[in-house]
């Protein structure tokens, strides 16, 4: 237990010392908020169903943070820990190896939630963020989306032979996803063809679920998203249990 707590503290420190990961999780979403907020403001418009641009952007930017944590941070940290021999060094101690994985999930979940909280606070103060949903639904959707994308990250960490390939594959998945899923650019603005194609991107369902709950939708309208995200989660657990290697 003492080892678990110490490792969690260290991993938090290491996360904050890694400027790239900390930037994309904590700072970049705020930059997006202020850039697009200053361009479009937050006036309610029928285009967004009576909400403002910032109101629908906050849940969408949250999806970017979730994708960053799962596809980039988690996959690359675990692959590089394996490749450089950090995992095997832990394996040579009495520490349960699964503790290392659990700590990674806890740390990334916490920073992802922090990233979302910063967005909400900044948007509330600066743009008078509106919220019409049930907070518990949003939290549940956030947790499901995180775990779904973290398990995606575990699949990558299990399948990628080296850090180099993990980086390339992560980026190749990440960038199309954040631009075509409606996470950066609202899906209302995207051409029809792309909207169809974006159905195949897991992040689209995170965006739809979070945005839907944000403006007050109930679970009934979003069963499809919930089923897809749970399927990814389950697949991730099964695949990574089979493919994850310590060295």
């Amino acid at each position: 237990m003492r080892g678990f707590l110490k490792l969690t503290i260290i991993e938090f420190k290491l996360f904050l010392r890694e400027p790239q990961a900390a930037f994309f999780t904590l700072i970049f979403p705020l930059m997006m908020l202020f850039i697009f907020g200053s361009i479009y403001g937050n006036k309610p418009t029928p285009f967004f169903g009576g909400f403002g641009s910032v109101d629908v952007s906050v849940p969408s930017y949250t999806a970017i943070i979730i994708a960053t944590s799962g596809l980039i941070s988690l996959a690359i940290v675990l692959t590089s820990y394996r490749e450089s021999g950090v995992l095997v060094r832990f394996q040579a101690t009495p520490l349960n190896p699964l503790t290392v994985l659990a700590v990674e999930v806890i740390v990334l979940f916490t920073v992802t939630a922090t990233g979302m909280a910063l967005l909400i606070i900044a948007a509330k103060i600066v743009y008078g963020l509106r919220f019409a949903g049930n907070p518990l639904n949003v939290i549940a959707a956030f947790v499901l989306s995180c775990f779904s994308f973290f398990s995606f990250g575990f699949i990558l960490a299990g399948l990628m032979p080296t850090v180099r390939t993990a980086q390339i594959v992560s980026m190749a998945l990440f960038f199309p996803m954040i631009f075509l899923s409606g996470a950066t650019i609202p899906r209302e603005v995207l051409p029809n063809g792309i909207q169809k194609y974006s159905e195949f991107l897991p992040l689209t369902h995170v965006v739809n679920l979070l945005r839907g709950f944000w403006v007050g939708d109930g679970w009934g309208v979003h069963l499809k998203e919930v089923v897809i995200l749970i399927s990814i989660l389950v697949t991730g657990v099964i695949v990574s249990a089979k493919t994850f290697r310590w060295k």
Binding site: G3, K13, L14, V88, A92, P94
Partner: protein, 308 residues
Amino acid sequence: MKYNAVVRVENLKKLYGSTVAVSDISFEVNEGEIFGIVGPNGAGKTTTIECVEGLRRPTGGNIEVFGLKPLQDGYVLKQRIGIQLQESSLPPRIKTWEALDLFSSFYSRSIDWHDLVDRLGLDNFLDTPFAKLSGGQKRRLFIGLALINDPDLIFFDELTTGLDPQARHSMWDMLREINTDGKTIFLTTHFMEEAERLCNRVAIIDMGRIVALDSPENLIRNLNIESRIIFTLNGYHKTIGSDLKNLNAVTRVESIGDRVIVYGSGTTLISDVVNFLTSKGISYSNFRTEQPNLEDVFLTLTGKKMRD
């Protein structure tokens, strides 16, 4: 004298696919000794030591460490052993003190890492991130991590590979010191000199098999490998080659110009040669002897040169 075996390995076998890494190895490591496995790269040293540590699953055979099974009893066993791995790392941005503090929290019993820091010469590098440490400093930090739980048995896999001679000698001193503190050491190395200087007993392995197992002195003596005496003649002596060859301890003589190399064995070789030269009034200089070493034993047993 009756020894207490802390490691027992019986008929260890390990295949990777259809490649045989280790075929049928048996040995014991006794309490308080420095035991070494030596052999060229790819001989199966790391596979063997990692099976004993419980980091690899053997294909066959039986391993006991302190009467425990390394795989099934991993948690209990790892509390009592220290492991320095051949290839491992730490997160690049973790600081020296954080690593020591973190790893000490993994064990139910651990020594105060502040005491280790001084001994390891890391006192000036406590706030240095792992990635910024030199090769020798990293190696010393890993020794620290292997000692942090005050283990009874410590494994060192290729501890000095890639270090400069000075750092290597300081590692040897450190290992002797650890051993003097009463800890059993199990090491692997491909430096014959390292094994000869440190180990009480060595197992020479080649292609996954043990080809010899004994103390370095016994290995050298029992193989009856020739010693060499080399000297320079001050003047010309026509019959010196055949005269020397008549001595009992001498097996053969080579002379190239005024340089003479005498091969032989037995404890009287040197005195016989010196007495002969003195009694005949032959003047010589640059007299030196070359004793056979573990490298010669390895060459004799396997018929091949050590590869670095």
